[in-house]
């Protein structure tokens, strides 16, 4: 199928996928006390990656992003679970959370919560699962 020409799609994808990544990070960080969070952020990231797959084909993208998505699922689960279990060390009940104010260079005084770590686990799991499902279906040969 060399006849079709995806030049517009490919050029647009370069721009759009980066916007999508930025938006997904925004959603991920907004999740603490606004609509958003790890789940939606993960879905957005996955859709950005899917867009790249659609524009450039499987071989090229798997060279650019050499990640085994199946590996992301247990990694994410482990991060989320360890965040929850981390409260054991302080004698607090499971899944207890805390937050603090930190001074970060360039950004100034920011509030950081341990819930963010849990969300990171959710984020990774969602990306892993979505990509695994989509790539398995796409890779199905007749």
């Amino acid at each position: 199928m060399h006849g079709t020409n995806d030049l517009i799609l490919r050029t647009a994808t370069v721009l759009i996928s980066f916007i999508l990544f930025a938006f997904s990070i925004y959603l991920f960080l907004a999740g603490h006390n606004a609509p958003g969070g790890g789940f939606v952020g993960g879905l957005m990231t996955a859709s950005a990656i899917v867009l790249m797959y659609m524009a450039y084909g499987e071989r090229a993208v798997s060279k650019i992003i050499p990640v085994n998505y199946r590996f992301l699922i247990p990694t994410g689960l482990l991060i989320a679970l360890l965040t929850g279990a981390g409260s054991f060390a302080f004698g607090e009940p499971f899944l207890n959370q805390t937050f603090g104010h930190f001074h970060i260079p360039l950004l100034g005084d920011k509030e950081l919560a341990t819930a963010l770590l849990f969300d990171l686990g959710v984020y990774l799991t969602v990306v892993g699962i979505t990509m695994t499902i989509i790539l398995s279906i796409a890779g199905d040969r007749e």
């Binding site: 959603l27 907004a30 609509p35 958003g36 867009l51 659609m54 499987e58 071989r59 090229a60 796409a138």
Partner: protein, 101 residues
């Protein structure tokens, strides 16, 4: 015109817009189901998405909130990717190329 009048008119206009969008959604649904060819259905689905964005926007106006803005953006993005996938499927028969460069 006082400001209460202004809010009153805005509300009426928003309700009229909501009804119009709903009617257009119904018509598009008929097209998406009936559509004689697949490209017809693809265009109808795309337009349904745009109408959904409009619907969320109108509801945001009614509720006087900015929390729904992200959702409009989200629907737009998913719609874009969905339309590309549909278009590519109709054009090429595959969505993710396997062996090309």
């Amino acid at each position: 015109m006082t400001s209460t009048d202004f809010y009153y008119i805005t509300e009426i206009v928003t309700y009229i817009c909501l009804v119009a969008t709903s009617i257009s959604l119904i018509l598009l649904m008929i097209r998406a189901i009936k559509g004689p060819t697949n490209p017809d259905r693809a265009v109808a689905l795309d337009a349904i998405g745009i109408n959904l964005m409009a619907l969320v926007g109108l509801i945001a106006i009614l509720l006087v909130t900015t929390k729904l803005n992200d959702i409009v953006l989200l629907i737009g993005i998913l719609l874009f990717i969905g339309t590309i996938a549909l278009a590519k499927f109709i054009e090429k028969g595959v969505i993710i190329d396997r062996d090309e460069r």
